[in-house]
Symmetry: C2
Subunit: 279 residues, 2 copies
Protein backbone atom coordinates (compact mmCIF):
# COMPACT_ATOMS: atom_id res chain seq x y z
CA UNK A 1 0.00 0.00 0.00
CA UNK A 2 1.19 3.50 -0.82
CA UNK A 3 0.83 6.80 1.00
CA UNK A 4 1.45 9.84 -1.17
CA UNK A 5 2.98 12.98 0.37
CA UNK A 6 2.36 16.48 -0.92
CA UNK A 7 5.70 16.33 -2.77
CA UNK A 8 4.45 13.38 -4.82
CA UNK A 9 0.86 14.44 -5.53
CA UNK A 10 1.82 14.86 -9.18
CA UNK A 11 2.57 11.11 -9.35
CA UNK A 12 -0.60 9.88 -7.65
CA UNK A 13 -2.95 9.61 -10.64
CA UNK A 14 -0.50 7.54 -12.64
CA UNK A 15 0.38 5.46 -9.58
CA UNK A 16 -3.31 4.58 -9.11
CA UNK A 17 -3.86 4.02 -12.84
CA UNK A 18 -1.02 1.53 -12.97
CA UNK A 19 -2.53 -0.43 -10.08
CA UNK A 20 -0.89 1.10 -7.02
CA UNK A 21 -3.17 0.93 -3.98
CA UNK A 22 -3.13 4.23 -2.16
CA UNK A 23 -4.12 4.93 1.44
CA UNK A 24 -5.57 8.43 1.54
CA UNK A 25 -3.83 11.01 3.69
CA UNK A 26 -4.92 14.39 4.94
CA UNK A 27 -2.10 16.88 4.71
CA UNK A 28 -2.52 20.54 5.56
CA UNK A 29 -0.92 23.44 7.37
CA UNK A 30 -2.16 24.95 10.60
CA UNK A 31 -2.55 28.75 10.59
CA UNK A 32 0.77 29.06 12.45
CA UNK A 33 2.55 27.23 9.63
CA UNK A 34 2.95 23.81 11.23
CA UNK A 35 2.22 20.81 9.06
CA UNK A 36 -0.59 18.46 10.03
CA UNK A 37 -0.72 14.98 8.56
CA UNK A 38 -3.13 12.12 9.07
CA UNK A 39 -3.24 8.77 7.29
CA UNK A 40 -6.72 7.40 6.73
CA UNK A 41 -5.85 3.73 6.95
CA UNK A 42 -3.02 1.35 7.62
CA UNK A 43 -1.42 -1.92 6.51
CA UNK A 44 1.44 -4.20 7.55
CA UNK A 45 3.65 -2.86 4.79
CA UNK A 46 3.43 0.70 3.61
CA UNK A 47 5.48 2.67 1.10
CA UNK A 48 5.43 6.44 1.50
CA UNK A 49 6.18 8.32 -1.71
CA UNK A 50 7.48 11.81 -1.12
CA UNK A 51 9.76 13.86 -3.31
CA UNK A 52 11.69 16.52 -1.45
CA UNK A 53 12.06 19.37 -3.90
CA UNK A 54 11.37 22.97 -2.87
CA UNK A 55 10.15 23.69 -0.20
CA UNK A 56 12.59 20.93 0.73
CA UNK A 57 12.45 21.24 4.49
CA UNK A 58 8.66 21.12 4.57
CA UNK A 59 8.64 18.03 2.40
CA UNK A 60 11.27 16.39 4.61
CA UNK A 61 9.44 17.15 7.85
CA UNK A 62 6.19 15.91 6.32
CA UNK A 63 7.90 12.62 5.39
CA UNK A 64 9.08 12.23 8.97
CA UNK A 65 5.63 13.03 10.38
CA UNK A 66 4.04 10.49 8.03
CA UNK A 67 6.57 7.97 9.31
CA UNK A 68 5.55 8.67 12.89
CA UNK A 69 1.85 8.44 12.06
CA UNK A 70 2.27 5.13 10.23
CA UNK A 71 4.38 3.55 12.97
CA UNK A 72 1.78 4.72 15.47
CA UNK A 73 -0.89 2.99 13.37
CA UNK A 74 1.01 -0.29 13.59
CA UNK A 75 2.84 -0.54 10.26
CA UNK A 76 5.57 -3.19 10.43
CA UNK A 77 7.59 -2.56 7.32
CA UNK A 78 7.84 1.06 6.33
CA UNK A 79 9.46 2.12 3.09
CA UNK A 80 10.22 5.60 1.81
CA UNK A 81 10.42 6.20 -1.90
CA UNK A 82 12.03 9.60 -2.34
CA UNK A 83 12.23 10.33 -6.07
CA UNK A 84 14.32 13.46 -5.46
CA UNK A 85 16.30 13.59 -2.25
CA UNK A 86 17.01 17.11 -1.00
CA UNK A 87 20.51 17.90 0.21
CA UNK A 88 21.97 15.07 -1.88
CA UNK A 89 24.61 17.39 -3.35
CA UNK A 90 25.87 18.39 0.10
CA UNK A 91 27.64 15.05 0.31
CA UNK A 92 31.03 15.98 1.69
CA UNK A 93 32.86 18.55 3.82
CA UNK A 94 34.70 20.90 1.47
CA UNK A 95 35.41 23.56 4.11
CA UNK A 96 35.97 22.98 7.82
CA UNK A 97 32.79 23.47 9.79
CA UNK A 98 30.38 22.24 7.14
CA UNK A 99 27.95 19.40 7.71
CA UNK A 100 27.46 16.41 5.44
CA UNK A 101 23.88 17.47 5.01
CA UNK A 102 22.73 14.39 3.12
CA UNK A 103 23.95 12.30 6.06
CA UNK A 104 21.74 14.28 8.43
CA UNK A 105 18.75 13.76 6.14
CA UNK A 106 19.34 10.03 5.79
CA UNK A 107 19.73 9.60 9.53
CA UNK A 108 16.54 11.51 10.22
CA UNK A 109 14.62 9.33 7.76
CA UNK A 110 16.17 6.26 9.38
CA UNK A 111 14.31 6.95 12.62
CA UNK A 112 11.06 5.75 11.09
CA UNK A 113 11.81 4.06 7.78
CA UNK A 114 13.18 0.55 7.30
CA UNK A 115 13.98 0.98 3.64
CA UNK A 116 14.83 3.96 1.48
CA UNK A 117 14.59 4.13 -2.31
CA UNK A 118 15.89 7.20 -4.10
CA UNK A 119 16.18 7.87 -7.80
CA UNK A 120 19.59 8.62 -9.29
CA UNK A 121 21.24 9.88 -6.13
CA UNK A 122 23.97 12.43 -6.78
CA UNK A 123 26.52 10.38 -4.83
CA UNK A 124 25.34 6.79 -4.28
CA UNK A 125 28.05 6.24 -1.66
CA UNK A 126 26.02 8.41 0.70
CA UNK A 127 23.40 5.63 0.94
CA UNK A 128 25.64 4.19 3.65
CA UNK A 129 24.37 6.91 6.00
CA UNK A 130 20.88 5.41 5.99
CA UNK A 131 20.69 2.88 8.81
CA UNK A 132 18.46 0.40 6.94
CA UNK A 133 18.29 -0.98 3.43
CA UNK A 134 18.91 1.82 0.92
CA UNK A 135 18.65 1.50 -2.84
CA UNK A 136 19.54 3.89 -5.65
CA UNK A 137 17.11 3.41 -8.55
CA UNK A 138 18.25 4.16 -12.09
CA UNK A 139 15.95 6.09 -14.41
CA UNK A 140 17.84 4.69 -17.43
CA UNK A 141 14.95 2.52 -18.65
CA UNK A 142 12.53 5.44 -18.60
CA UNK A 143 14.95 7.82 -20.31
CA UNK A 144 15.93 5.22 -22.92
CA UNK A 145 12.30 4.48 -23.68
CA UNK A 146 11.42 8.15 -24.05
CA UNK A 147 14.31 9.10 -26.32
CA UNK A 148 14.92 5.76 -28.10
CA UNK A 149 12.98 6.41 -31.31
CA UNK A 150 14.02 10.06 -31.54
CA UNK A 151 17.66 9.13 -31.15
CA UNK A 152 17.72 6.38 -33.81
CA UNK A 153 21.29 5.19 -34.33
CA UNK A 154 22.62 8.10 -32.29
CA UNK A 155 25.08 8.43 -29.44
CA UNK A 156 24.54 8.89 -25.70
CA UNK A 157 26.96 11.27 -23.98
CA UNK A 158 27.65 12.20 -20.39
CA UNK A 159 28.66 15.82 -19.70
CA UNK A 160 31.68 14.66 -17.69
CA UNK A 161 33.52 11.49 -16.79
CA UNK A 162 31.75 11.19 -13.44
CA UNK A 163 28.39 10.89 -15.19
CA UNK A 164 29.62 8.29 -17.70
CA UNK A 165 27.80 5.46 -15.93
CA UNK A 166 24.48 7.18 -16.63
CA UNK A 167 25.23 7.50 -20.35
CA UNK A 168 26.31 3.87 -20.42
CA UNK A 169 23.13 2.65 -18.72
CA UNK A 170 20.87 4.49 -21.17
CA UNK A 171 22.97 3.51 -24.21
CA UNK A 172 23.00 -0.16 -23.28
CA UNK A 173 19.21 -0.26 -23.05
CA UNK A 174 19.14 1.00 -26.63
CA UNK A 175 22.16 -0.88 -27.97
CA UNK A 176 23.90 2.42 -28.79
CA UNK A 177 27.37 3.85 -28.49
CA UNK A 178 28.19 6.04 -25.50
CA UNK A 179 30.95 8.33 -24.31
CA UNK A 180 31.57 11.42 -22.21
CA UNK A 181 32.85 14.96 -22.56
CA UNK A 182 36.21 15.92 -21.20
CA UNK A 183 37.69 19.31 -20.58
CA UNK A 184 40.82 20.21 -22.49
CA UNK A 185 42.97 23.24 -21.72
CA UNK A 186 43.62 24.92 -25.05
CA UNK A 187 45.42 28.01 -23.70
CA UNK A 188 46.41 29.27 -20.25
CA UNK A 189 43.00 30.88 -19.89
CA UNK A 190 40.77 28.79 -22.11
CA UNK A 191 39.19 25.39 -21.52
CA UNK A 192 37.32 23.52 -24.20
CA UNK A 193 34.97 20.55 -23.84
CA UNK A 194 35.13 17.71 -26.32
CA UNK A 195 33.46 14.32 -26.58
CA UNK A 196 36.00 11.52 -26.14
CA UNK A 197 36.59 8.94 -28.89
CA UNK A 198 33.36 9.35 -30.82
CA UNK A 199 32.47 10.97 -34.09
CA UNK A 200 29.26 12.91 -33.70
CA UNK A 201 29.10 14.29 -37.24
CA UNK A 202 25.70 13.63 -38.78
CA UNK A 203 24.47 11.65 -35.78
CA UNK A 204 21.81 12.43 -33.20
CA UNK A 205 23.11 12.86 -29.67
CA UNK A 206 21.47 12.54 -26.26
CA UNK A 207 23.29 14.14 -23.33
CA UNK A 208 22.23 12.71 -19.95
CA UNK A 209 22.94 13.97 -16.46
CA UNK A 210 21.47 13.55 -12.99
CA UNK A 211 20.56 17.16 -12.26
CA UNK A 212 20.13 20.25 -14.40
CA UNK A 213 20.12 23.50 -12.46
CA UNK A 214 21.48 26.47 -14.44
CA UNK A 215 21.95 24.30 -17.53
CA UNK A 216 25.20 26.08 -18.42
CA UNK A 217 27.17 22.90 -19.06
CA UNK A 218 24.39 21.43 -21.17
CA UNK A 219 24.21 24.54 -23.33
CA UNK A 220 27.97 24.57 -23.87
CA UNK A 221 27.94 20.91 -24.77
CA UNK A 222 25.02 21.34 -27.16
CA UNK A 223 26.63 24.29 -28.94
CA UNK A 224 29.84 22.33 -29.34
CA UNK A 225 27.98 19.37 -30.81
CA UNK A 226 26.33 21.67 -33.36
CA UNK A 227 29.74 23.01 -34.36
CA UNK A 228 30.95 19.46 -34.79
CA UNK A 229 28.08 18.77 -37.16
CA UNK A 230 25.89 16.62 -34.94
CA UNK A 231 22.32 15.87 -36.03
CA UNK A 232 19.62 16.44 -33.45
CA UNK A 233 20.77 17.24 -29.94
CA UNK A 234 18.63 16.06 -27.01
CA UNK A 235 19.15 16.67 -23.33
CA UNK A 236 17.77 14.46 -20.56
CA UNK A 237 18.21 14.59 -16.83
CA UNK A 238 16.68 12.79 -13.91
CA UNK A 239 16.03 15.81 -11.71
CA UNK A 240 14.95 19.15 -13.12
CA UNK A 241 16.16 21.46 -10.33
CA UNK A 242 15.94 24.36 -12.73
CA UNK A 243 17.21 27.81 -11.85
CA UNK A 244 15.03 30.65 -13.09
CA UNK A 245 15.01 30.79 -16.87
CA UNK A 246 17.05 27.60 -17.27
CA UNK A 247 14.30 25.62 -19.00
CA UNK A 248 13.98 28.31 -21.68
CA UNK A 249 17.75 28.73 -22.14
CA UNK A 250 18.46 25.00 -22.45
CA UNK A 251 15.30 24.50 -24.50
CA UNK A 252 16.51 27.02 -27.09
CA UNK A 253 19.94 25.42 -27.38
CA UNK A 254 18.71 21.89 -28.08
CA UNK A 255 16.12 19.99 -30.11
CA UNK A 256 14.43 18.68 -27.00
CA UNK A 257 14.93 18.92 -23.28
CA UNK A 258 13.09 16.40 -21.09
CA UNK A 259 13.51 15.37 -17.48
CA UNK A 260 11.80 12.76 -15.33
CA UNK A 261 8.97 13.57 -13.00
CA UNK A 262 10.94 13.16 -9.76
CA UNK A 263 10.35 16.92 -9.65
CA UNK A 264 7.29 18.33 -11.42
CA UNK A 265 8.37 20.85 -14.08
CA UNK A 266 6.97 21.88 -17.47
CA UNK A 267 9.41 19.44 -19.13
CA UNK A 268 8.95 16.48 -16.76
CA UNK A 269 7.76 14.21 -19.54
CA UNK A 270 9.58 11.04 -18.52
CA UNK A 271 7.77 9.07 -15.84
CA UNK A 272 9.47 7.10 -13.10
CA UNK A 273 6.17 5.72 -11.81
CA UNK A 274 6.40 2.36 -13.67
CA UNK A 275 9.85 1.80 -12.11
CA UNK A 276 8.50 2.81 -8.72
CA UNK A 277 5.83 0.12 -8.95
CA UNK A 278 8.47 -2.51 -9.60
CA UNK A 279 10.38 -1.78 -6.37
Amino acid sequence: MFVVGSGAKHLEDELRKLGGEVIDAEIKKFPDGEKYVRVLGSADEVTVVQSTFRPQDEHLVELILLGDALRESGVETLRAVVPYLAYSRQDRVTKDGEPVSVRAVMRALGIYYDELYVFDLHNPETLKFFPGKAINVSPARAIAEYFGDKLGEGIVLAPDKGARGRAKAVAEKLGLEFSHFEKERISPTEVRMRPVDVDVAGRNVLIVDDIISTGGTMIKAANLLREMGAGKVFVAATHGVFAEGAIERVGKAVDELAVTNTIPTPVSRISIVPDMLRL
Copy 2:
Protein backbone atom coordinates in the same frame (compact mmCIF):
# COMPACT_ATOMS: atom_id res chain seq x y z
CA MET B 1 30.48 28.14 23.66
CA PHE B 2 27.32 29.05 21.81
CA VAL B 3 26.31 28.77 18.17
CA VAL B 4 23.34 30.90 17.21
CA GLY B 5 20.95 29.68 14.51
CA SER B 6 18.92 31.97 12.28
CA GLY B 7 15.89 31.44 14.55
CA ALA B 8 17.80 32.93 17.49
CA LYS B 9 19.59 35.84 15.78
CA HIS B 10 17.36 38.21 17.77
CA LEU B 11 18.92 36.89 20.98
CA GLU B 12 22.56 37.08 19.91
CA ASP B 13 23.40 40.67 20.91
CA GLU B 14 22.10 40.21 24.44
CA LEU B 15 23.73 36.80 24.70
CA ARG B 16 27.12 38.32 23.85
CA LYS B 17 26.54 41.36 26.06
CA LEU B 18 25.84 39.13 29.05
CA GLY B 19 29.10 37.26 28.49
CA GLY B 20 28.09 34.37 26.25
CA GLU B 21 30.91 33.31 23.95
CA VAL B 22 29.63 32.78 20.44
CA ILE B 23 31.21 30.77 17.63
CA ASP B 24 30.28 32.48 14.39
CA ALA B 25 28.27 30.54 11.87
CA GLU B 26 27.56 31.11 8.20
CA ILE B 27 23.94 30.33 7.39
CA LYS B 28 22.44 30.90 3.97
CA LYS B 29 20.22 29.38 1.33
CA PHE B 30 21.39 28.03 -1.99
CA PRO B 31 19.48 29.30 -5.03
CA ASP B 32 17.50 26.03 -5.11
CA GLY B 33 16.25 26.68 -1.56
CA GLU B 34 18.51 24.27 0.35
CA LYS B 35 20.01 25.56 3.57
CA TYR B 36 23.78 25.80 3.86
CA VAL B 37 25.38 26.06 7.29
CA ARG B 38 28.99 26.29 8.37
CA VAL B 39 30.37 26.80 11.87
CA LEU B 40 33.54 28.87 12.01
CA GLY B 41 35.11 27.21 15.03
CA SER B 42 34.60 24.42 17.49
CA ALA B 43 34.93 23.46 21.17
CA ASP B 44 34.49 20.37 23.35
CA GLU B 45 31.13 21.60 24.57
CA VAL B 46 28.81 23.58 22.37
CA THR B 47 25.29 24.87 22.91
CA VAL B 48 23.30 25.62 19.77
CA VAL B 49 20.54 28.17 20.30
CA GLN B 50 17.76 27.90 17.75
CA SER B 51 14.14 28.83 18.16
CA THR B 52 11.83 27.01 15.77
CA PHE B 53 9.05 29.46 15.03
CA ARG B 54 7.84 30.06 11.48
CA PRO B 55 9.26 28.88 9.05
CA GLN B 56 9.38 26.00 11.54
CA ASP B 57 10.61 23.27 9.24
CA GLU B 58 13.51 25.37 7.96
CA HIS B 59 14.55 26.21 11.49
CA LEU B 60 14.34 22.55 12.50
CA VAL B 61 16.38 21.32 9.55
CA GLU B 62 18.95 24.03 10.18
CA LEU B 63 19.27 22.87 13.80
CA ILE B 64 19.88 19.32 12.60
CA LEU B 65 22.44 20.45 10.02
CA LEU B 66 24.27 22.49 12.69
CA GLY B 67 24.31 19.36 14.83
CA ASP B 68 25.90 17.38 12.01
CA ALA B 69 28.48 20.10 11.35
CA LEU B 70 29.43 20.37 15.03
CA ARG B 71 29.74 16.60 15.50
CA GLU B 72 31.87 16.50 12.36
CA SER B 73 34.10 19.20 13.89
CA GLY B 74 34.66 17.02 16.97
CA VAL B 75 32.30 18.47 19.58
CA GLU B 76 31.89 16.05 22.47
CA THR B 77 28.93 17.45 24.36
CA LEU B 78 26.31 19.04 22.18
CA ARG B 79 23.36 20.89 23.65
CA ALA B 80 20.35 22.37 21.92
CA VAL B 81 18.56 25.28 23.52
CA VAL B 82 15.25 25.62 21.69
CA PRO B 83 13.38 28.56 23.21
CA TYR B 84 10.24 27.75 21.22
CA LEU B 85 9.83 24.16 20.07
CA ALA B 86 7.71 23.74 16.95
CA TYR B 87 5.09 21.00 16.92
CA SER B 88 4.92 21.00 20.72
CA ARG B 89 1.11 21.24 20.65
CA GLN B 90 0.82 18.14 18.47
CA ASP B 91 1.53 16.04 21.54
CA ARG B 92 -1.05 13.25 21.29
CA VAL B 93 -3.13 11.29 18.82
CA THR B 94 -6.65 12.68 18.91
CA LYS B 95 -7.79 10.97 15.70
CA ASP B 96 -6.57 7.62 14.35
CA GLY B 97 -3.83 8.07 11.81
CA GLU B 98 -2.27 11.16 13.33
CA PRO B 99 1.38 11.34 14.35
CA VAL B 100 2.66 12.55 17.70
CA SER B 101 4.54 15.26 15.85
CA VAL B 102 6.51 16.53 18.84
CA ARG B 103 7.85 13.00 19.31
CA ALA B 104 9.16 12.99 15.74
CA VAL B 105 10.86 16.34 16.31
CA MET B 106 12.46 15.25 19.57
CA ARG B 107 13.73 12.02 18.04
CA ALA B 108 15.22 13.85 15.09
CA LEU B 109 17.03 16.27 17.42
CA GLY B 110 18.22 13.29 19.45
CA ILE B 111 20.33 12.06 16.54
CA TYR B 112 22.89 14.79 17.14
CA TYR B 113 22.15 16.45 20.48
CA ASP B 114 23.01 15.07 23.92
CA GLU B 115 20.88 17.54 25.82
CA LEU B 116 17.78 19.53 24.98
CA TYR B 117 16.54 22.63 26.78
CA VAL B 118 13.17 24.08 25.83
CA PHE B 119 11.26 26.94 27.40
CA ASP B 120 7.81 26.32 28.82
CA LEU B 121 6.96 23.28 26.74
CA HIS B 122 3.24 22.91 26.07
CA ASN B 123 3.24 19.37 27.50
CA PRO B 124 6.39 18.66 29.55
CA GLU B 125 5.62 14.93 29.52
CA THR B 126 6.69 14.87 25.89
CA LEU B 127 10.29 15.44 26.97
CA LYS B 128 10.43 11.68 27.42
CA PHE B 129 10.62 11.33 23.62
CA PHE B 130 14.05 12.95 23.56
CA PRO B 131 16.64 10.20 23.94
CA GLY B 132 19.06 12.26 26.08
CA LYS B 133 18.75 14.68 28.96
CA ALA B 134 15.80 17.00 28.36
CA ILE B 135 14.86 19.97 30.51
CA ASN B 136 11.85 22.26 30.49
CA VAL B 137 12.91 25.76 31.55
CA SER B 138 10.41 28.04 33.28
CA PRO B 139 10.16 31.67 32.23
CA ALA B 140 8.53 32.53 35.59
CA ARG B 141 11.49 34.54 36.88
CA ALA B 142 11.62 36.70 33.77
CA ILE B 143 7.87 37.28 33.70
CA ALA B 144 7.73 38.03 37.44
CA GLU B 145 10.58 40.50 37.15
CA TYR B 146 8.99 42.30 34.21
CA PHE B 147 5.50 42.64 35.71
CA GLY B 148 6.36 42.76 39.44
CA ASP B 149 6.31 46.53 39.96
CA LYS B 150 3.36 47.08 37.63
CA LEU B 151 1.34 44.44 39.43
CA GLY B 152 1.95 45.73 42.99
CA GLU B 153 -0.17 43.74 45.44
CA GLY B 154 -2.13 42.17 42.58
CA ILE B 155 -3.12 38.66 41.65
CA VAL B 156 -1.72 36.20 39.12
CA LEU B 157 -4.27 34.14 37.22
CA ALA B 158 -4.07 31.22 34.82
CA PRO B 159 -6.67 31.10 32.01
CA ASP B 160 -7.53 27.48 32.90
CA LYS B 161 -6.74 24.87 35.50
CA GLY B 162 -4.09 23.22 33.32
CA ALA B 163 -2.05 26.43 33.33
CA ARG B 164 -2.35 26.94 37.09
CA GLY B 165 1.24 25.86 37.68
CA ARG B 166 2.46 28.78 35.56
CA ALA B 167 0.44 31.30 37.58
CA LYS B 168 1.72 29.74 40.78
CA ALA B 169 5.36 29.94 39.69
CA VAL B 170 5.11 33.62 38.80
CA ALA B 171 3.07 34.50 41.93
CA GLU B 172 5.50 32.76 44.25
CA LYS B 173 8.45 34.74 42.86
CA LEU B 174 6.51 37.89 43.80
CA GLY B 175 4.90 36.67 47.02
CA LEU B 176 1.44 37.20 45.54
CA GLU B 177 -1.85 35.37 45.47
CA PHE B 178 -2.69 33.19 42.47
CA SER B 179 -5.64 31.29 41.07
CA HIS B 180 -7.16 30.18 37.77
CA PHE B 181 -10.25 30.66 35.68
CA GLU B 182 -12.81 27.94 35.40
CA LYS B 183 -15.64 27.51 32.98
CA GLU B 184 -19.13 27.44 34.40
CA ARG B 185 -22.20 26.42 32.42
CA ILE B 186 -24.81 29.07 33.15
CA SER B 187 -27.44 27.82 30.68
CA PRO B 188 -27.68 24.90 28.24
CA THR B 189 -26.01 27.05 25.59
CA GLU B 190 -23.91 29.48 27.57
CA VAL B 191 -20.59 29.03 29.31
CA ARG B 192 -19.06 31.67 31.53
CA MET B 193 -15.48 31.95 32.80
CA ARG B 194 -14.84 32.99 36.36
CA PRO B 195 -11.75 33.23 38.54
CA VAL B 196 -11.85 30.67 41.36
CA ASP B 197 -11.75 31.73 45.01
CA VAL B 198 -10.27 35.20 44.58
CA ASP B 199 -11.68 38.68 44.79
CA VAL B 200 -10.29 40.76 41.93
CA ALA B 201 -12.22 43.97 42.71
CA GLY B 202 -9.86 46.93 42.84
CA ARG B 203 -6.76 44.80 42.33
CA ASN B 204 -4.36 44.54 39.44
CA VAL B 205 -4.33 41.18 37.68
CA LEU B 206 -1.75 39.40 35.54
CA ILE B 207 -3.00 36.52 33.39
CA VAL B 208 -0.22 34.15 32.28
CA ASP B 209 -0.26 31.37 29.71
CA ASP B 210 2.27 29.43 27.65
CA ILE B 211 1.11 30.38 24.16
CA ILE B 212 -1.09 33.13 22.77
CA SER B 213 -2.28 32.52 19.24
CA THR B 214 -5.68 34.07 18.49
CA GLY B 215 -5.87 35.60 21.98
CA GLY B 216 -9.60 34.92 22.21
CA THR B 217 -9.43 33.40 25.69
CA MET B 218 -7.29 36.22 26.99
CA ILE B 219 -9.69 38.84 25.67
CA LYS B 220 -12.67 37.08 27.26
CA ALA B 221 -10.83 36.81 30.56
CA ALA B 222 -9.77 40.46 30.48
CA ASN B 223 -13.30 41.68 29.72
CA LEU B 224 -14.65 39.61 32.56
CA LEU B 225 -12.07 41.02 34.98
CA ARG B 226 -13.08 44.56 33.98
CA GLU B 227 -16.71 43.73 34.68
CA MET B 228 -15.70 42.41 38.07
CA GLY B 229 -14.03 45.71 38.86
CA ALA B 230 -10.41 44.68 38.59
CA GLY B 231 -7.74 47.36 38.50
CA LYS B 232 -5.15 47.09 35.73
CA VAL B 233 -5.22 43.92 33.63
CA PHE B 234 -1.95 42.58 32.24
CA VAL B 235 -1.41 39.60 29.97
CA ALA B 236 1.85 37.66 29.72
CA ALA B 237 2.75 34.57 27.76
CA THR B 238 5.93 32.71 27.04
CA HIS B 239 5.44 32.20 23.32
CA GLY B 240 3.83 34.83 21.12
CA VAL B 241 2.57 32.62 18.28
CA PHE B 242 0.23 35.40 17.26
CA ALA B 243 -2.40 34.92 14.58
CA GLU B 244 -2.86 37.92 12.29
CA GLY B 245 -4.24 40.89 14.21
CA ALA B 246 -4.06 39.13 17.58
CA ILE B 247 -1.48 41.51 19.07
CA GLU B 248 -3.74 44.47 18.32
CA ARG B 249 -6.91 42.79 19.57
CA VAL B 250 -5.39 41.60 22.84
CA GLY B 251 -3.49 44.86 23.23
CA LYS B 252 -6.74 46.85 23.07
CA ALA B 253 -8.44 44.66 25.66
CA VAL B 254 -5.75 44.94 28.33
CA ASP B 255 -3.45 47.50 29.96
CA GLU B 256 -0.36 45.70 28.73
CA LEU B 257 0.43 42.61 26.73
CA ALA B 258 4.00 41.30 26.86
CA VAL B 259 5.54 37.99 25.87
CA THR B 260 9.05 36.61 26.13
CA ASN B 261 11.50 36.67 23.27
CA THR B 262 11.41 32.92 22.55
CA ILE B 263 9.72 34.20 19.39
CA PRO B 264 10.55 37.71 18.18
CA THR B 265 7.37 39.82 18.04
CA PRO B 266 6.63 43.53 18.58
CA VAL B 267 5.65 42.74 22.20
CA SER B 268 8.54 40.36 23.04
CA ARG B 269 9.75 42.59 25.85
CA ILE B 270 10.59 39.88 28.38
CA SER B 271 13.99 38.32 27.85
CA ILE B 272 14.83 34.68 28.49
CA VAL B 273 18.52 35.24 27.72
CA PRO B 274 19.63 35.61 31.37
CA ASP B 275 17.95 32.26 32.17
CA MET B 276 19.55 30.71 29.12
CA LEU B 277 22.99 31.70 30.37
CA ARG B 278 22.33 29.94 33.68
CA LEU B 279 21.64 26.55 32.04
